[in-house]
Structure formats: C-alpha cells, structure tokens
Amino acid sequence: MEILKAKKTLLILALALVVSGLKAQTFTEQVKAFQQSYILAASGNYAEGINSLKTVYMENSYEINLRLGYLSYMAGRFTEAIAYYSKAIDLMPYSIEARLGYAYPASAIGNYSKVLEQYEKILEISPNNSIVMHRIGLIYYGREDYMKAEKYFEKVVNLYPFDYEGLTMLAWTKLKLNKTREAKSLFQKALLNTPSGSTAVEGLELLGN
C-alpha cells in the first residue's frame, strides 16, 4: 500500500516536471516569435511578422493579441486588427494601450462610433487623459461640430495651458464659433510657446493681426 502511494507521488512529480518543461519551451518559443516579429516589422514585412507570432498564438494571451492587433493594422488588415485588439481589451479591460490601439484600425475603416466608444471608455478609466480628449476634439472639429470640439479642447488647455497643439486647436474652434477675442488671445499664447508656429500665425492673420 505504501509502495502504491510512493508510486503515485512520483507520477505526479514526473508529470509536473513535464508540464513545466513544456511551458518553458513555449515561453522560449514566444520570445523567439516576438523577436522575429520585431525584426520583420522593422523591415516593413508585417505579414511575415504576423505569421511568426501566429505559430505561438494563444487566445488568452493579452500580449500576443495586442501585438497581432498592431501588426495586422500595419499590414492593412483592419478588421483582423480590430478583432485582436478586442480580444486584448476583453482580457485586460482597464488597458488603455489596447483601447488606443483599437482606435487606429477602427478610424482607418471609418468606424468612428466605435472609436468614440473606446475613447469614452478610456475617459472613464482615466478621466483626464489629455491625448484622448484632444483626439475626440479633433474628430468633432473635423465633422464641424465645433460646440462639442470646444468642450474637449477646453479641458485639454485647462490641463496643459501652455501646450501648442491644445492652444491652437482651441483657438481655431473658438474662431469657427465666432468667439474672435478668445481665439486671438489663444493664438497669441500659442505663439509664446512656438514663436514661429505657422497655424497660430495663420489664425492671427485671419483675425487681422
């Protein structure tokens, strides 16, 4: 009976060793696959980079899905990229990088409702994320919805009052809303940051200064 117990223990130990060996092997393969993908992507060969990562693909790996999302986007496979980024988001719901990544292919195919959905989710996670607020502002500005754009650019400028990009975009938005005095002041502040900033100069010229 004792012998039987010892045999069982040995069997479990042996199995554990085999499993950990397999894991170690998979990890090494993963590193190799990732390295290969970086080398291939650096030379612009995104499709091969995808193939190398697919050899070690695991559905529950956040890192592989995120990397495949990026590579697929760079290869122009936008729907696949969205699928990989979505998986990454499902695995790490608080990941801002995965949501920002998702926004690239979604924008490329024009699915801006999805882009805005992700940006709004990021603002829930990180309410003062200035990159996201600036991008939302740009989307609304591009669609000539200046009232909404103003709301977001205003927040960016409150957080970064001396940021050239934020100041000029808020200035242009104010100009479009016929708030010329505010626009002029903002263009002038932008010029203090970047004295030769062309868009600020253009704005001031338009305002007759």
């Binding site: 122009g76 936008f78 729907t79 699915n111 801006y112 409702s113 805005l116």
Partner: protein, 447 residues
C-alpha cells in the same frame, strides 16, 4: 465540327465559372482584397459588381463604415432607395457624426416615398443637415382637390322594383343610385417635426331612383337633391423611424329632400329629413425593409347602423423603390343593425409601376362583400347601403415637382335590398344588382 465547337464552348464556360468562383472564394476573406476591389468598383461606378463584392465581405464579417457607404451609394445610384437606406443606416451606426451619410439617409427616405419619415430624420439631425438640405416647416405643406362623377347606366330603373303585396313589409323603400357628383379638398399642415394635421371637407350631390310602399301608397320616381356634407380631420404622428400612427374622425351631415309624388289631391308627400353620421379611426403602419405593414380599427355610425372595422395592409416594394409595388389589403366590417350583427369581408389587391417619365400606372381589384366602410387610412368613407362585390380601378398618376395629378377610371359591381320602414332595417327582399362607372380627377400641390 459544330458539335465539337459547342462542347469546347461549354467546357470553357464551365471552367471560367469554376475558376472565378474558386478564386473569389479564396479571396473572399481577405479584407485588403475586398476593400481595394470595392473601392475600384466604386470609382468606376460598377454598381452591380460592387453590391456583389460587398455582400461577400459582409458574409465574412468584414463590415465597416466606408464599405457600407459604398454599398449604400451603389443602391442609391441604381435608385433602389430602400436598400440604400438600409446600408446607410448601418454605416450610421458605425459612424454617427458623418454629414454625408446623414444626407444620403435623408434623400433615400425622401425618394422612397417616406416623406414624413424623412422630415422626422431631418429634424433629429438638423445640426448636420441644415446646410445641405433646405427644409423648412410649412404651415401648409400640401393642398389637394378631387372631383368624382359616378354613373349607373341602368336604362329602366322602375322595372327593377317589384311589389311585395302581402309577402313583404307593408312599409318600405329602396333607393337605387343613378349618379352622383362629389368634390373633396384636403389640406396638410406641419405642426412639428413629426406631427402633421390633415383635414378637409367634401360635398356630395346624389340622384337616385326612389321606390316606396307606404300605407299602400306606391311611389316609383327619380329623386334629386340628396346631399351630404362632410368634414374630417386627423393627426399623423411619426414617433419612431419608419412608423406612422394616425388618428382621424369624420362628421357627416346628410339631407334627404322633401318630395311630392303625383299630382293634385292624390299627391303623396314624403317629408325630408337630415341627420348626422360619424366615423373615427386609429391606425399604425411601419416600414420593414421592402415592406410596409400595418392596420387600423374604425368605429362608425353610418346609415342608422354601427360599424366596427378591422383592416390590415401589406405593401411590397420588390425593387426597393416606388417603381414597382403591390398593395394587399383585407377589411372586415362587423355591422350592428339594431342588435342583428352582420359580418362583411372585402379584400383588395393593387399593382403599381412607373411607366415613362414621371407617370405611374396603378391597377386595383377589390373583391368580397363590403359596405359602409372606411378607406385610404380613414380619409375616405363609403357611406352607402349598397354592398360592393367587385371593383376595378385603373389610375394614371403624374408626379411633378410641385404638383401631382391623378386620373382614375373605376368599374363597380354592387347590389342593394329593400329597406323595411316599420322595423327600420334592411331585408333580403328585391336584390338589385348594378354596375357603375366612376371617373375621378385629383390634383394636389406641394409647398
């Protein structure tokens, strides 16, 4: 030689077909391939090819804003506006702040004949559409007049009546419509972005052949001056996308003139009378893809009886536009004649299509047995004890920028029975079957 050539042609066609299918199947899951193919088809305006390739994309879960827009534009350019709207709306779900997409949705609705729906959409998206679409709320958005002439070509109406002596009711009457003239006007006002007031009035003047047996006095003569004045009003609401709910009411004032029949001391005096009838209705219709489905309920008090009507209507637009459509309707009227309930069922089948230019042709058949019913979503009342059995309508419609003109020729078969004046109810006696012609001319102005 000929046979060989025929076979080689057959094999060649088969090979091309299989090859095309295989190569397409191989590529059908590739986003890059379908995106570039559909974009090229869009640039070269190959609408049929574009519709096919985007369909393959959707089957393979490749679905994005620009692709939906391309499909929508392909259908729009082919004037299949209902199908275009479907794709533009899917594109809108993917990107709801794009002006061009909203503009396409508005015009797809408008050109598909969904005017109320298009207005509602415009006002819900006014921020995006106000620059591109010049639309203003109109106090009076349309005005229409129609004139109707009904003619029963019966030659000797007196011969159609029989005397009942002791076999029938002692006091009774029967009216046979010989002809009538009818004028109707209708006004439509925009009250808000999704609510319209529709109201109007009509005047009817009828000549009939009158037969009466009253206290053994017989009258058999043509009578003139039967008049009917009607006012109707309704509110039409578009509460949701593609849904219209309408409530309407009619008030009818009729008058039967006083008449002397015969001469001198033997003349019989029949006093005139006047009274009111009414009818109310509620209905709902919804666009579902290529269909418009709905129905209504009406409650009326016409000709001293009470009518409860249930009806349903299905409109099918096989091409996704107004170039071809079929309308199928079923009407069921339950008529309460002093406690005695009679049920009548009628059905209508209509086919309409565009002929040339802006001219449409419509043919309609109505069968079953029906009387005292409401039609045209409650805006027409058939206030008559004549039971319609068959009706054929043929219409020509010219739809202009500002005016619509409609001419209708109608052939009608109907019958009526003797009316018992003691019990004030219709009997089964002396069934007179008639055939009549109706000419209708309608003009409407859009503002």
């Amino acid at each position: 030689m000929k046979l060989k050539l025929k076979y080689s042609k057959y094999w060649l066609t088969l090979f091309i077909l299989i090859w095309a299918q295989r190569s397409f199947a191989q590529k059908n899951v590739s986003f890059v391939y379908l995106d570039s193919l559909s974009y090229q088809q869009y640039l070269y305006e190959e609408w049929n090819g574009l519709i096919k390739s985007t369909r393959t994309a959707y089957k393979n879960d490749i679905d994005y804003y620009y692709l939906r827009m391309r499909t929508g534009i392909a259908y729009y350019e082919k004037h299949r506006f209902m199908l275009a709207e479907k794709h533009f709306k899917k594109a809108e779900k993917l990107n709801d702040i794009e002006k061009i997409n909203k503009e396409y949705i508005y015009y797809s609705k408008l050109f598909a004949g969904k005017q109320a729906d298009a207005y509602r959409y415009y006002y819900n998206n006014e921020y995006y559409l106000k620059k591109a679409v010049d639309l203003k709320k109109k106090d009076l958005s349309s005005f229409s007049i129609d004139a109707v002439y009904f003619y029963n070509p019966v030659k000797d109406p007196a011969s159609l009546f029989v005397e009942f002596n002791n076999s029938g009711p002692s006091n009774g009457e029967q009216l046979l419509t010989l002809n009538y003239r009818f004028v109707n006007f209708k006004l439509v006002h925009d009250i808000s972005d999704n609510l319209r007031l529709i109201h109007g009035g009509s005047f009817l003047n009828k000549n009939s052949y009158y037969y009466s047996l009253y206290d053994n006095n017989l009258i058999s003569s043509e009578i003139t001056g039967l008049n009917q004045i009607q006012y109707y009003g309704g509110l039409s609401l578009t509460p949701a996308d593609g849904l219209t709910v309408t409530a309407s009411s009619h008030f009818i004032r009729y008058s039967f003139p006083a008449n002397y029949f015969g001469r001198g001391a033997s003349a019989t005096y029949i006093p005139g009378f006047a009274g009111n009838f009414s009818s109310s209705r509620i209905s709902a219709y919804k666009y579902l893809g290529l269909f418009n489905l709905g129905g209504g309920l009406s409650y009326s008090s016409l000709n001293f009886k009470k009518q409860f009507q249930k009806d349903g209507r299905l409109v099918f637009y096989p091409l996704g536009n107004l170039n071809l459509y079929t309308v199928s309707s079923l009407l069921m009227v339950s008529e309460d004649d002093k406690g005695e309930v009679q049920n009548y069922t009628g059905f209508k089948q209509e086919l309409g299509f565009k002929t040339f230019g802006n001219v449409w042709f419509e043919a309609k058949y109505q069968g079953g047995e029906i009387k005292n019913f409401t039609d045209h979503d409650g805006f027409s009342i058939f206030n008559s004890n004549d039971t319609q059995t068959s009706r054929y309508d043929f219409s020509l419609i010219h739809a202009g920028q500002k005016t619509n003109i409609r001419l209708i020729a109608s052939y009608l078969e109907y019958y009526n029975n003797y009316f018992d004046l003691t019990e004030m109810r219709t009997t089964d006696l002396n069934k007179i079957e008639s055939k009549a012609l109706t000419i209708i001319a309608e003009i409407s102005w859009k503002f």
